[in-house]
């Protein structure tokens, strides 16, 4: 191994994305067949997510942001266009276990303790017992849940449960983290706290994160890039590069720079809304 010939093949595409792009979508579309006729969930989506990016997808419900995340995860199949994840098809990426997925709900298995829940992907992927224990301890520390490993999910608060589910997604070696409104069901204070922790975690682990949200402050606070989407049909209306520094204390949200990005996001959302109703 290690010769130039064994390098992963480049994508033979005119609009060849940078080799460092983790997710690359070209003209991606997805139409669901429903009883009321076809529903276009996504159309004409072009996007590159670079390694180490923190990309937020923001938009009203029905704009396809969750659908796009599910396409990346191979939980939905696109009906047109192409998409690569880590240079391969989403299906191969899923089979290579190259991403961790955090759902809207924690989806912890109630019959497993927090430790055992984090061990679940590790058991499935065949990690040894000693390695499992080391990873459980490391990821529990990463999400500030050390000492809660023996608890059952119902003994933890909603915020702690969601942190445990993030630990579960971090336990195995996936460089890409897909998060679907992970803090949507939590109250503002818990959410602020978790946002801060998530940035810290991102800085420490250097993962690439795709983050779906419908909160403007959350998107601006967390992201290096903000993808604004709009519904009917679901599409990207704006991609905003954040000018904020990587080091972000919570009170950065009061700065003029932050408010300016936030207002551009708001304008993008409003533009997407202007020609319906």
């Amino acid at each position: 191994m290690g010769t130039a010939f064994a390098m992963p093949q480049m994508i033979p595409d005119a609009a060849s994305p940078s080799t460092r792009s983790v997710v690359s979508a070209r003209d991606l579309g997805l139409t669901f067949k429903t009883d009321d006729g076809p529903v276009t969930a996504l159309t004409g989506v072009n996007l590159d997510v670079r390694k180490g990016d923190f990309v937020s997808f923001i938009g009203p419900s029905g704009c396809g942001k969750t659908t796009f995340l599910r396409v990346i995860a191979d939980l939905e199949k696109p009906t047109s266009g192409t998409i690569t994840v880590n240079g391969t098809t989403p299906q191969d990426a899923r089979k290579n276990r190259s991403y961790g997925y955090v759902f809207q709900a924690a989806a912890l298995y109630p019959w497993r303790t927090i430790e055992e829940n984090i061990a679940l992907p590790l058991e499935i992927m065949g990690y040894g017992a000693a390695d499992r224990q080391a990873r459980i301890e490391r990821t529990l520390a990463l999400v500030n849940l050390s000492g809660f490993g023996k608890k059952f999910p119902w003994q933890l608060s909603g915020g702690m449960q969601q942190r445990a589910s993030i630990a579960r997604a971090l336990a195995f070696d996936a460089d890409l983290l897909l998060m679907d409104e992970p803090f949507g069901a939590l109250d503002e204070i818990v959410r602020d706290h978790l946002n801060e922790q998530l940035l810290e975690l991102w800085a420490r682990t250097e993962k690439t994160i795709c983050f779906v949200t419908h909160s403007i402050p959350e998107a601006v606070y967390l992201s290096t890039r903000i993808v604004v989407m709009s519904p009917r049909p679901g599409r990207i209306t704006d991609v905003i590069e954040s000018t904020l520094p990587r080091e972000r204390p919570l009170d950065i949200r009061e700065t003029p720079e932050f408010l300016e990005i936030a207002s551009r996001v708001r304008d993008g959302l409003r533009a997407g809304h202007s020609y319906d109703e």
């Binding site: 809207q104 499935i124 999910p153």
Partner: protein, 290 residues
């Protein structure tokens, strides 16, 4: 809730039932005493009738203490190997019940697993499973016994198979529901891990189905006992609670019938309690909220 608050309602109901039973026994058994007196050409007062209604050899409705005395006599006072021992008969029925219940559990789980994993079985099996339960068991029980006897199988197994026939049903239905109980988000999670179908089964579907399994088992163990008793009725079985019931009704031994009935009810209660205890033990190990 204090112990007194728990026990008092139970005792009140029990006392009311006993009073009702004694009243019914007096009412139902009194005509026989009046007829006897009339045939002897004597008159009889109510105060003379009252004690006699509770001491007949073959009463229409035996009084509770008669049943208790019979139960005591046939369990404690007889060696368990004796054919007059109710414990002996209960054991005959219980062994068929347990074998039938075990087979029924295996069959029910197997059918449920097949139904959940195989589209053809899913489409074709459930109507047959439901149809199987619309046939009166009293009609099919003699057929099972006769057919099996013709191919040389007799004794415990035919009765056990009737238990199986009844008890697989709630388990199959409950387990289909239980194995399908995981939410979409839990299934999606397993998909993101690229879990194999056996991992999906053992790490998600099976543990998720446990509460459903035990609820079904409680129903199944009680009807397995009914199945074993029914299996003893139409075949002239010489031993077992069903045989006791049958012999009792041939000879008008109502006290014997009632004591066999109470034994069966007690047995069912114990079986359901054991399954219930296993249920809570398993759920506690699975981290259920106390």
């Amino acid at each position: 809730m204090t112990a007194r608050e728990k026990i008092l309602p139970v005792l009140t109901i029990l006392a009311a039932l006993l009073a009702l039973w004694y009243a019914a026994a007096v009412f139902l058994n009194a005509p026989f005493e009046r007829d006897t007196a009339a045939r002897a050409g004597t008159t009889i007062t109510f105060s003379e009738i009252l004690p006699r209604t509770m001491a007949q050899a073959r009463p229409v409705l035996p009084a509770p203490h008669q049943v208790l005395a019979e139960l005591w006599d046939t369990t404690i006072n007889k060696p368990v190997t004796s054919k007059r021992s109710l414990v002996y008969h209960a054991w005959i029925t219980l062994s068929a019940t347990l074998v039938g219940f075990g087979l029924g559990t295996l069959l029910g789980i197997t059918l449920a697993v097949g139904t959940v994993h195989n589209r053809a079985m899913d489409r074709s099996l459930m109507p047959w499973i439901i149809a199987s339960q619309t046939i009166p068991i009293l009609a099919i029980a003699p057929m099972i016994i006769v057919v099996l006897n013709a191919i040389g199988i007799s004794g415990l197994l035919p009765k056990a198979l009737i238990s199986t026939y009844l008890s697989f049903f709630p388990i199959a239905v409950g387990m289909v529901k239980g194995l399908r109980s995981p939410e979409q988000i839990q299934l999606d999670l397993m998909r993101t891990y690229n879990a194999s179908s056996s991992q999906l089964f053992w790490k998600l579907r099976w543990p998720a189905s446990m509460p459903y399994l035990f609820t079904s088992l409680k129903v199944a163990v009680a009807i397995a006992l009914v199945g074993a008793i029914v299996g003893e009725l139409p075949t002239g079985a010489v031993a077992g609670l069903g045989a006791r019931l049958l012999a009792g009704s041939y000879y008008g031994q109502t006290v014997q019938i009632w004591s066999a009935l109470f034994m069966a009810a007690g047995l069912a209660a114990v079986l359901v309690l054991i399954v219930g205890a296993a249920h809570s033990a398993v759920l506690r190990r699975m981290g259920a909220r106390p």
